[in-house]
């Protein structure tokens, strides 16, 4: 009964999850904009470049296997307006990224919408929103 109830609660909360619009450079069709997820792992590379910055991080999946995620963010200009710099992320940093995952299940996501954020291990939060 309790496990069924838990599952029901998770389902209801998921259904009510309100997500923001994705304004990725190339389109919104590839990402699951309705169901954002939080991914926790270790930064392997931070690419500070136009048109969109990219975050690469190692994440342990449910089976304990390490998967390298590629996360599309926003341009350096937009990130700067959200208090980022090119050295904000360094390899080895432990972070949690809220993102819209790729619909096809690949380890790819988009974090540059109004719900997207990075939570650092010391509790700091940085957004990546366009405004």
């Amino acid at each position: 009964m309790n496990s069924k109830l838990s599952a029901l609660i998770v389902l209801i909360v998921s259904l009510f999850a309100v997500t923001g619009p994705v304004s990725a450079h190339h389109g919104n069709s590839a990402y699951d904009e309705e169901h954002q997820i939080a991914v926790t792992g270790t930064v392997t590379e931070f690419v500070w470049s136009n048109p969109h910055c990219q975050i690469y991080m190692d994440v342990k999946d449910a089976q304990g296997k390490v998967v390298n995620w590629a996360i599309e963010s926003q341009s350096p200009g937009i990130l700067r307006r959200n208090s980022w710099t090119k050295t904000t992320l360094k390899p080895g940093d432990q972070i949690t990224v809220t993102l819209a995952p790729a619909k096809n299940g690949a380890a790819v996501g988009f974090s540059g919408n109004k719900e997207g954020k990075v939570v650092f291990s010391d509790g700091r939060i940085l957004k990546m929103d366009v405004r």
């Binding site: 209801i12 304004s23 450079h25 309705e34 048109p51």
Partner: protein
């Protein structure tokens, strides 16, 4: 005790419902800051497109289209539209299939599509010229207000050729001489070489600018249609250098999105 799980569920539902209600309730707005009358023609500043944001992108409009209205297309215009495969909005195609002209080549989005890119615009003014500077691709769009005629010696152009004049505190800009390599918006509405864009731009108070746009393109649309854009002043922002570069690594990410999952 038996009802405790149901009680928890009910409480959770109430929390979720109140959260949703709080998110949908429009925030109280302070009275707009007035603009001194001697600054009514001063459009200068960094401006960002200001639109209500839908809860999901599946809803149309937001930064994808100029207007929510259905556009009155000619047979030729409809055929052009049917051939476009945008990766944005409701009609969005997978990235591997899109024929969006800026997708693989980083070509300019053109005018007025540039307004729909979610990046700020700076307006600078000098005697005889209102200059729009866009963060996206560091593009520029001058509107000459010194009484000159359209210059058709260059082009056809990505951003068109603009001249303007003041009617009271409204800048009326007239833009022609477009190439046909661009879409009007991010969902693929087309235009022809007959595109004529008329804008009525006005700073309605200190922090807000409006642009009422008329699209007149008789080859593509059976009648002229209009769009209304709102912009919000961003006094602490500066434009960053931004070029649509490094397409290669970006393509790699996006190819992974369109490949079947491993």
């Amino acid at each position: 005790m038996r009802n405790r799980p149901l009680g928890i569920l009910f409480a959770l539902l109430m929390i979720v419902a109140s959260t949703v209600a709080a998110q949908t309730k429009p925030p109280a707005k302070a009275a707009p800051k007035a603009l001194p009358s001697n600054q009514a023609r001063d459009l200068s500043g960094v401006w960002m497109l200001d639109r209500p944001r839908p809860n999901t992108v599946v809803e149309r409009f937001w930064v994808y289209e100029l207007t929510e209205e259905e556009l009155p297309m000619t047979a030729w215009g409809q055929a052009q539209y049917d051939a476009t495969k945008s990766s944005f909005g409701k009609r969005s195609y997978p990235l591997a299939e899109t024929n969006d002209p800026i997708f693989h080549t980083c070509t300019p989005p053109g005018f007025p599509r540039i307004f729909l890119h979610p990046y700020p615009m700076q307006i600078m003014q000098s005697r005889g010229e209102v200059l729009m500077l866009f963060e996206w691709d560091s593009m520029r769009h001058p509107i000459y207000t010194d009484g000159r005629a359209h210059d058709t010696t260059l082009g056809p152009l990505w951003m068109g050729d603009s001249i303007g004049h003041w009617e009271g505190d409204t800048l009326v800009a007239d833009t022609v001489n477009f190439n046909t390599k661009t879409w009007l918006d991010r969902v693929g509405h087309p235009h022809s070489d007959a595109l004529h864009v008329i804008e009525r731009i006005r700073r309605i108070n200190h922090d807000h600018l409006i642009d009422d746009i008329t699209i007149d393109d008789p080859k593509t649309y059976t009648k002229p249609w209009t769009a209304h854009l709102d912009f919000l002043l961003r006094p602490t922002w500066t434009l960053a250098e931004q070029f649509c570069e490094d397409q290669e690594s970006f393509d790699e990410i996006e190819n992974n999105e369109t490949k079947p999952a491993k």
